[in-house]
């Protein structure tokens, strides 16, 4: 066994993408047994930083039972430096068009931050832009040159990374909850869903939308994978659109879930065309739904993000905050208000892995373009109301090498 003393690369291989999976053990100096569990979080954070980034950011900490009980980063994943100051609302990795990995995070502090994520796991803050209100969604253009930011200020702005300028590209009458870039053979546009119950498609050069579709209710979640788009609305509405030619409603689906829709993500079949989606609700449940199932039994739901609960007593049920599919394996990851992430294989209908619980709910997750990195953000999602909100509480984004963890159970 190679000594893997430092957080990450004992040999200079990349943290992500190497099969020599790095094991995290704290730096030697930390091994003094000072488990001052008291001196926690702040120090843990420092420790983590020193472990992951070559430059001793936080300085050395003499104690820290980082080895034993790290409640802030129980999975010992890489921590992204300079995280946002308020809860993270959206995460997006750069598309395959770019060589390097850039991570964008939108936050309730009105800012969108960009980091470069190196192979070593080191994250370098690159730049930041602001909106006039909390950012609810971010997305990349397909060529990786622009980032779109949807905000509570009812606008969507386009951030040109090269020039670091922003320009408004969309306007709604209520906060914009989702924005997705649509790249069709015959057109490209930005699809925005808002609480004003409309879905609008924007040619970013024009002030008026190319198309506006009325939704039955406020848009709560959406996903686009050309030629399919799915929108989940308030009141458990679920609509599938087909985007070929021009966007039009394809089908309204009776929701397979009995509770409020929270997140949706499209998946592809073996031939790499979108065939269905996973829908998450606030009741710890995810529905896998094929738009045109060969067999009605192909559609199913599964429970997740629930505490065990004693037989006589309580089970805590948490909302599923985000679902993402692995770009290579087709397996999926879910994150919930319980502060855990789980990996699942929907074809084998099994769970692959569940993480330890973070201190705060996990609000978002995403995979990078080649499926090597899993990013998840830990911050308060309001699931317990405003009483449990503390502006002091730190928000984190963690990165994890995940290629192995997400391998499907079934023979592909």
């Amino acid at each position: 066994m190679v000594h893997q003393v430092h957080g990450y690369l004992n040999n200079k291989q990349s943290a992500f993408g190497s099969l020599d999976v790095v094991r995290w053990t704290p730096k030697p100096q930390i091994q003094t047994d000072d488990f001052f569990l008291l001196l926690f979080c702040v120090y843990f954070e420092n420790c983590n930083m020193t472990m992951f980034s070559q430059s001793p950011l936080g300085g050395t900490s003499s104690f820290v039972g980082a080895a034993a009980t790290n409640t802030v980063n129980p999975m010992r994943d890489f921590e992204v430096t300079s995280p946002p100051d308020d809860s993270i609302s959206s995460l997006a990795f750069s598309p395959p068009a770019l060589q390097q990995n850039f991570l964008i995070a939108g936050s309730w502090d009105n800012n969108v931050r960009c980091w470069e994520v190196e192979q070593s796991g080191k994250t370098i803050p690159k730049s930041m832009q602001s909106m006039q209100g909390p950012v609810l969604d971010v997305c990349w253009s397909d060529d990786g040159t622009k980032v779109f930011m949807a905000s509570c200020d009812k606008q969507v702005k386009c951030w040109d990374l090269a020039s670091n300028q922003t320009v408004q590209v969309a306007q709604h009458d209520a906060p914009v909850k989702t924005c997705h870039w649509v790249k069709a053979p015959s057109y490209t546009c930005l699809m925005t869903g808002s609480w004003d119950k409309t879905l609008k498609f924007w040619d970013t050069r024009s002030q008026n939308p190319m198309m506006t579709i009325q939704l039955p209710e406020r848009c709560y979640c959406a996903d686009v994978d050309y030629p399919m788009a799915v929108v989940g609305t308030a009141g458990r509405g679920l609509i599938v659109y087909q985007l070929e030619g021009q966007p039009q409603e394809y089908k309204r689906i009776e929701s397979p879930l009995k509770y409020q829709h929270r997140c949706v993500s499209i998946f592809r079949d073996k031939k790499n065309s979108p065939v269905g989606f996973a829908l998450g609700s606030v009741e710890g449940r995810v529905a896998i739904q094929y738009v045109a199932p060969q067999n009605p039994k192909d559609n199913f739901t599964f429970k997740c993000h629930r505490s065990n609960g004693t037989p006589g007593g309580f089970q805590d049920i948490f909302a599923v905050n985000d679902i993402v599919f692995h770009p290579v394996h087709g397996t999926l990851a879910t994150v919930g208000s319980d502060g855990k992430f789980s990996f699942w294989d929907k074809d084998a209908r099994t769970k692959l892995k569940t993480s330890e619980a973070m201190e705060s709910p996990i609000t978002n997750c995403c995979f990078n373009a080649n499926g090597q990195i899993f990013a998840y953000s830990v911050s308060y999602d309001w699931s317990k109301g405003h009483e449990f909100y503390s502006p002091m509480k730190k928000n984190y984004i963690f990165l994890r090498p995940c290629f192995e963890d997400l391998k499907p159970r079934t023979k592909p």
Binding site: P134, D153, A234, R236, G237, R262, T301, F302, F314, I317
Partner: protein, 427 residues
């Protein structure tokens, strides 16, 4: 099924109004849910049997049937399956069943099939509530049901249930709606979408107060069972979710999520609005952008009120006026709304100059028509003033002491500056 007439259609449980395919299943259900001893888990056969068992074996008295509806919890009545159900209740159930069936029939068959059972249950449950005025907490659960049912018919209807439910709930409670509402609810709970948009009243507060203990914040809900046994379990979830989960099978109430049930609780605020919407309503997140745009949505909702408020704003001046204006608006706007705003208000004090706009700005997060639904559970946990009608809210106006953040509970006691002015206008 083979027989034409299924003994008064499907067997249903007198204690909790759930429906079953078969009487055998009904009996199993009763044994497991209603006739089970909570001490030793022994399953008895009847209510009186359970009571005798507990007395003899555990020396404990039981006063009501576990997991039963509040008006059906009499332990003395001997019910076994469908036997022993009093005529009166049988008729009532039939009636509700018939009343509930109608709205369902136009819908497509397959949609109804799986849903019908639940729908019927829900409807009957809800309707019952409508007819027998019951107290607050129960109202919450049952009225939810009709919404569930109405949710079934399809996406387009989806939005209505929310309003419908809230209306329904509030109506009986506050007697604001009065009969028409209840009847509407009985026949087509979905419906009040229109009514909902109109009637913004009130009992939001009452409901809120009721919800308070039920909110999912950590502490209080821990001991759900003892606190709300009737409530929690009285939601007749007719059919389980597709995967047949046992844990929380209570149907979602469009306006409110039934976040607690006998065995589980959902970590989500009770109002069925998304977490982001809830959060965005906090004045902390209201921004200058809202200031300018905020006017619009609000205007559409309750113009006269807003306009009325605005002059106040200019009169009173800066933050104070802001608060006052907001409060004024609140009064007008559903009280529920009001509460939300008020709550966020103090936080908002620090906000920008166009005060009225800020207040207005808060609204966009809450699409019109949903205000009723937006009881913020958090609100309920706040000091009582939140639950109070306008008067207290008016007390809010002092931005100063409040501090910029919701952290400072709305200190309240400020002299209701604009209150006197507001009052006459605002009900």
């Amino acid at each position: 099924m083979g027989r034409k007439k299924k003994k008064q259609s499907k067997p249903w449980c007198w204690y909790c109004n759930r429906e079953f395919d078969d009487e055998k299943i009904l009996i199993q259900h009763q044994k497991a849910k209603h006739f089970k001893c909570h001490i030793c888990h022994k399953k008895l056969y009847t209510g009186p049997g359970l009571s005798i068992h507990c007395m003899q074996v555990h020396k404990e008295t039981i006063d009501k049937v576990p997991n039963s509806l509040p008006n059906r919890s009499n332990i003395e009545i001997e019910i076994y399956g469908m036997e022993g159900i009093p005529e009166v209740d049988l008729k009532e159930h039939e009636k509700q069943r018939a009343g509930g069936m109608r709205p369902q029939s136009p819908d497509s068959g397959d949609e109804d099939e799986p849903a019908a059972k639940k729908a019927k249950d829900n409807l009957t449950g809800g309707v019952m509530q409508g007819t027998t005025t019951t107290n607050g907490p129960q109202m919450m659960a049952l009225p939810g049901m009709p919404q569930m049912a109405t949710g079934m018919p399809g996406a387009p209807m989806m939005m209505h249930p929310m309003m419908g439910a809230t209306q329904f709930m509030m109506g009986p409670m506050a007697s604001m709606m009065g009969n028409p509402q209840m009847q509407q609810a009985q026949n087509k709970p979905l419906f009040p979408a229109a009514a909902a948009a109109v009637s913004t009243s009130s009992s939001a507060t009452l409901v809120g107060a009721d919800f308070k203990p039920i909110s999912t914040s950590a502490g209080p809900t821990n001991h759900m069972k003892p606190a709300f046994p009737a409530y929690g379990s009285s939601t007749p979830s007719g059919s389980d979710t597709p995967t047949g989960s046992a844990a929380s099978t209570t149907p979602k109430t469009p306006a409110l999520i039934n976040t607690t049930s006998a065995t589980s609780r959902i970590m989500h605020p009770p109002e069925d609005i998304s977490l982001e919407e809830r959060r965005a309503m906090m004045s902390r997140y209201q921004t200058s952008a809202h200031l300018s745009h905020g006017m619009l949505p609000l205007a559409t909702v309750s113009q006269p009120m807003m306009l009325a408020a605005r002059p106040m704003v200019s009169v009173a001046g800066q933050t104070v006026s802001n608060a006052a204006a907001v409060q004024a608006m609140m009064n007008h706007h559903a009280q529920a709304n009001a509460m939300l705003r008020a709550q966020q208000h103090p936080a908002a004090m620090a906000a920008a100059a166009s005060m009225a706009a800020v207040a207005l700005g808060q609204f966009p997060g809450a699409p019109p028509g949903h205000h009723m639904a937006m009881l913020s559970g958090g609100n309920m946990l706040r000091p009582p003033p939140m639950g109070l009608p306008p008067g207290m809210i008016h007390g809010l106006p002092h931005g100063g002491p409040m501090g910029p953040f919701g952290g400072a509970p709305m200190g309240f006691p400020g002299p209701p500056m604009l209150a006197p002015m507001m009052h006459p206008r605002f009900r």
